[in-house]
């Protein structure tokens, strides 16, 4: 169903309201911002895609170290290039909205942190995650001993079945005990 015609149909609007956690105003605002990213000739196309390069120029994502991962997680393109249709964009905003459940947020957070997309967070994933968190400047990075210690501590605390990786259930178990997660995992347009 086409949704990047210049106007959203009432039917699609109510459908999106039912399927996502966004309110009507948020969906309309998302539509507006999305069409601004499209080329002129694409504006009337059905299911037009916006490349990842353009999405990460949005001010809400520009400085986020996880921006490429976010685009890749929510993208439904076959080429895995991180391009988003309008519906993918709505998915993104819905997962990061105020009223999304803890389960949805933790699910997508897990997928974002899973840099190699193998369904678990192993040592390499965790290392990349910590490097993203602490930034790329040299003095802000953790030394390799500290990194090893940190990763082993994390695995000790959260890997319940002791297989050396954190799978989705273990991740959700840790997150459910962290009260700040829901309020920090939010992006508002």
């Amino acid at each position: 169903m086409g949704t990047t015609a210049s106007q959203l149909s009432k039917e699609s609007l109510s459908e999106y309201q039912e399927l996502t956690f966004l309110t009507k105003q948020e969906i309309l605002l998302a539509h507006k911002r999305f069409t601004e990213l499209l080329e002129k000739h694409e504006k009337d196309q059905i299911d037009a895609r916006v490349s990842m390069g353009k999405i990460i120029t949005l001010p809400e994502l520009k400085s986020n170290p996880f921006k490429e991962r976010i685009c890749q997680v929510f993208s439904t393109s076959e080429q895995k290039d991180g391009s988003l249709t309008f519906e993918d964009f709505l998915d993104l905003l819905s997962a990061f909205s105020d009223s999304a459940t803890l389960e949805i947020k933790s699910h997508y957070a897990f997928r974002i942190f899973d840099f190699d997309d193998d369904g678990t967070l192993d040592c390499a994933d965790l290392e990349k995650l910590v490097n993203c968190l602490t930034g790329e400047t040299n003095d802000a990075k953790l030394s390799s001993t500290e990194m090893k210690q940190l990763i082993s501590n994390i695995l000790e605390e959260s890997d319940i079945d002791k297989d050396g990786t954190v799978n989705l259930s273990e991740f959700q178990h840790v997150i459910s005990r962290s009260p700040d997660f829901v309020s920090s995992f939010k992006i508002v347009l």
Binding site: M1, L19, N64, I104, D117, T134, A140, E146, R177
Partner: protein
């Protein structure tokens, strides 16, 4: 994709419903690359693997996973009892190194891993969830919905009615389950599924199609069709109501800018401000509708001295404001509208209700019940939100995973500005390093001398704080006594402007606000010399000291008003002490606002200029969230104290909060930066809501209840004039009701036995405590279950590793046999 591995154990697993989705219509099948690399069908790759395995076998000390060293030792000990025959090599973590391609395929398609990335697995998981939900809801269709030729035993309709055909895909089963759920559950399930919108749309269309088909097959009566349409219309209107409410939320763009630059911590201050605005709007609407409006429409008959408006009224609240609807004294004590001039004092509804009137409004009763109901409803809303935030932020078993939680949930996605993102990264790095350092140094205990010194310093600091608080309390007490005496002596002399007299009354609020401003700064100074174990303890101590100061100030003031002014009001020349107290509270609110302005100006703007130009520091001052929130709570307590005496005070408070919002917003944007220390937003929010409820609202309610219960109202003004206490108005009304309508005597008896009897309160409190005790026992039991389950999961993990190792050894044996055959062929 995963090919079918010829492994005997797989089949029973499939039957037991533990299948891993074999046909992965995966959105992400990036594991494919890894698999493709390994399954080149070339002997070289398998030879390489074999070599690797061989070399791994040779080394006894398995160090092939350098990053996860410490766990390995633990594994060795645990694995020794599970060693298999033939000197198998020991258990190892399930890493992707050195395993064969088949093993890798099996690993990658294990349910625990696919659930995190694969659409088919998610659908299968949600299929199970919807099935469970259906079982719980047990929506049995009514017999009318069945055609006469349907299956004979309706009683066994339920899940067994579903087709158990093995070829029916998981998706169809999901659609079937969704279709059988009630609509609200269906919408909730669909929304909560972590699938993309396009897939959800397809599922939803399938469900709707099925529903339409079923509906068109049955002949629906008019009634059920109507019901169906009404439900759809109700749902649509509910959505539009929600969007309308959402659009009413004020300040959305501004809040987004603040959170984009400063993160969740500073945002929580502004959200707290917004909550207070809503509480005050509610109060204002209630008092406005029930008190102000009726009285404004029917002004009292007594001739009032009207004074001309001079600017000083805005500051003192007296003058031309004092005989308006703003204060208690204006309100009448009879039923509105007054048709006949009765005897005057204490005239009640009885004489007038017998007349035929379309509209009668008993003012004293309305006043009493409105204030009571407003407080009661505010209390309920506050307790409800307090319990909700408690549930969110304090969970059982929280103590152990600090590092993990910090790693996974400390990134604030709301922060947008590049500089703030950088600051946040630096903060996280520092915190992680500190936590790691703490963990490695846990064993070093400080010497007795050091600890003793630290405790001494703490003791000195607390003594200073308590002494200064007590000193200020005494100071305010004596100052208020002085003013009281001054008024007693001076009220007879008509010297000077009456306005000047009122301006002199501004002195007490100024003194109190000054103390509230300066003393927390002193506390901060004192806290500099102390050393705390953790920054959160430091924050709690600062909040505790500040709170102690503010409650003591308010306590002294309440004593002064209710204990000094109220009984002796005639000696200082007042006709109406309640209006006077209302004016005092207005002055206090105003002074609080002026001092907030000054504090923002000096504390933030000038300090920033000073530190940049003179001290040459690069960093801007930090916005002290806790102190500002406590100031807000203090202002709100004043507003709650004053509602009884000045029904329009919530409106003043709303205005003040609006102005404070814009002032603080611009000041924060210009002058401050985000806090450097970690700020646990949700825990702090819980604490602040608790503080709003327990000392603030509770204290205000206690004061108001005491006023209503025991203090004599003034005899010549207000709705309760002539009664011995305000509470008597309610009792009076009950007696009148009983007289008029003997059937309602039950109500008054209930009132006497329940409300006025302390025994009932004791019993109620006792039951409440017992319920709390039971709940805490349940929580303890749940903690034990959690640890049992953790042990069980650990055992399952061991099983998994064992099976994978066996799989690997079987593959290796096959490979070896194959190699031997090949080498035999080649030699022949």
């Amino acid at each position: 994709m995963a090919r079918n591995v010829n492994f005997d154990l797989s089949h029973p697993l499939m039957e037991a419903g533990l299948e891993s989705p074999a046909d992965e219509e995966g959105v992400h099948d990036s594991f494919q690359q890894l698999i493709a690399e390994h399954t080149d069908d070339g002997a070289e790759s398998s030879a390489l693997e074999l070599q690797q395995l061989q070399s791994d076998l040779d080394e006894e000390s398995r160090d092939n996973i350098p990053l996860c060293g410490p766990e390995h030792e633990h594994r060795r000990q645990g694995a020794s009892d599970l060693e298999c025959d033939g000197g198998e090599r020991e258990m190892d973590q399930i890493q992707g190194e050195g395993w064969s391609s088949d093993t890798l395929k099996i690993l990658s398609s294990m349910p625990s891993r696919t659930i995190g990335r694969n659409r088919g697995a998610i659908i299968s998981q949600y299929c199970n969830k919807t099935l469970k939900l259906r079982r719980r809801r047990q929506t049995r269709p009514s017999i009318r919905d069945f055609s006469p030729s349907s299956r004979p035993s309706i009683r066994s309709y339920g899940m067994e009615g579903d087709t158990t055909d093995a070829e029916v895909s998981k998706r169809e089963r999901l659609v079937n389950n969704l279709q059988n759920l009630p609509v609200s559950d269906r919408v909730r399930m669909l929304r909560g599924m972590p699938l993309s919108v396009a897939e959800k749309k397809e599922i939803r269309n399938l469900v709707m199609q099925k529903e339409k088909r079923i509906l068109s097959n049955k002949k629906l009566s008019c009634y059920s069709q109507l019901k169906y349409y009404i439900i759809i219309a109700a749902r649509k209107s509910w959505y539009s109501w929600l969007s309308f409410l959402h659009s009413l939320e004020p300040w959305q763009t501004l809040l987004k800018r603040v959170s984009g630059r400063f993160g969740t911590g500073v945002l929580s201050y502004f959200l707290f401000l917004k909550t207070l605005v809503f509480f005050n709007v509610f109060l204002f609407l209630v008092t406005g509708a029930f008190l102000v409006l009726p009285q404004a429409v029917h002004p009292p008959d007594e001739a009032t001295e009207t004074r001309s408006f001079s600017g000083l009224e805005l500051l003192t609240g007296a003058g031309s404001f004092s005989h308006t609807v703003m204060y208690y004294g204006y309100y009448t004590n009879y039923t509105l509208p007054r048709r006949s001039r009765g005897e005057g004092r204490g005239q009640n509804a009885s004489a007038l209700s017998s007349d035929s009137q379309q509209f009668s409004y008993n003012m004293p009763l309305a006043y009493f019940f409105t204030i009571g109901m407003a407080f009661f409803i505010t209390c309920i809303i506050l307790v409800y939100s307090m319990s909700k935030t408690f549930g969110r932020s304090f969970r059982i078993n929280k103590s152990h995973s600090i590092l993990t939680m910090k790693t996974f949930s400390s990134w604030d996605f709301k922060v947008i500005k590049k500089k703030s993102v950088q600051i946040m990264s630096e903060n996280i790095c520092t915190q992680l390093k500190e936590l790691l350092a703490e963990l490695t140094q846990k064993n070093t205990k400080s010497t007795f001398c050091k600890r003793f010194c630290r405790q001494m310093v703490h003791g000195v600091a607390w003594t200073i704080c308590i002494a200064s608080t007590t000193g200020c309390m005494a100071g305010v007490y004596y100052f208020s006594e002085f003013i009281h005496k001054d008024l007693q002596q001076n009220y007879r002399k008509f010297e000077g402007n009456p306005l000047m007299k009122e301006a002199r009354l501004l002195s007490l609020p100024t003194v109190v606000s000054l103390i509230n401003l300066l003393l927390p700064a002193l506390f901060n100074l004192v806290a500099w010399m102390e050393i705390y174990e953790s920054p959160s303890v430091f924050a709690y101590v600062a909040i505790g000291r500040n709170l102690m100061l503010k409650t003591s100030m308010l306590g002294v003031l309440c004593f002064h008003w209710l204990g000094r002014v109220a009984p002796e009001y005639e000696s200082i020349g007042l006709t109406c002490w309640e209006s006077f107290v209302g004016e005092e509270l207005y002055r206090f609110l105003l002074m609080d606002f002026i001092f907030t302005l000054l504090d923002t100006l000096f504390g933030e703007l000038l300090w920033r200029l000073f530190s940049e130009k003179v001290l040459k520091r690069r960093r801007k001052p930090v916005f002290d969230i806790a102190r500002n929130v406590l100031d807000l709570i203090y202002g709100q307590t004043l507003a709650w104290l004053g509602v009884l005496f000045s029904p329009l005070l919530p409106a003043v408070q709303i205005l003040k909060l609006f102005l404070v919002f814009y002032i603080k917003m611009s000041s924060v944007m210009m002058n401050c930066q985000a806090p450097r220390k970690p700020y646990r937003a949700s825990q702090m929010t819980t604490i602040f809501i608790t503080l709003l409820c327990i000392p603030s609202l509770l204290g205000a309610s206690v004061c108001v209840t005491y006023t209503m219960w025991s203090i004599t109202p003034s005899t010549s003004c207000g709705p309760f004039r002539g009664l011995s206490t305000m509470f008597k108005a309610g009792k009076h009304w009950m007696e009148i009701l009983e007289k008029d309508n003997p059937n309602l005597s039950v109500l008054s008896k209930a009132h006497t036995y329940f409300v006025e009897n302390p025994f009932f309160l004791f019993v109620g409190a006792g039951i409440f405590l017992i319920v709390i005790y039971f709940h805490s026992q349940v929580v303890d039991g749940q903690r034990k279950i959690i640890s049992l389950l953790q042990d069980q999961i650990q055992n399952e993990g061991e099983d998994k590793k064992f099976l994978i190792n066996r799989l690997q050894s079987v593959h290796k044996q096959k490979q070896d046999a194959g190699k031997r055959l090949k080498s035999q062929d080649s030699t022949c």
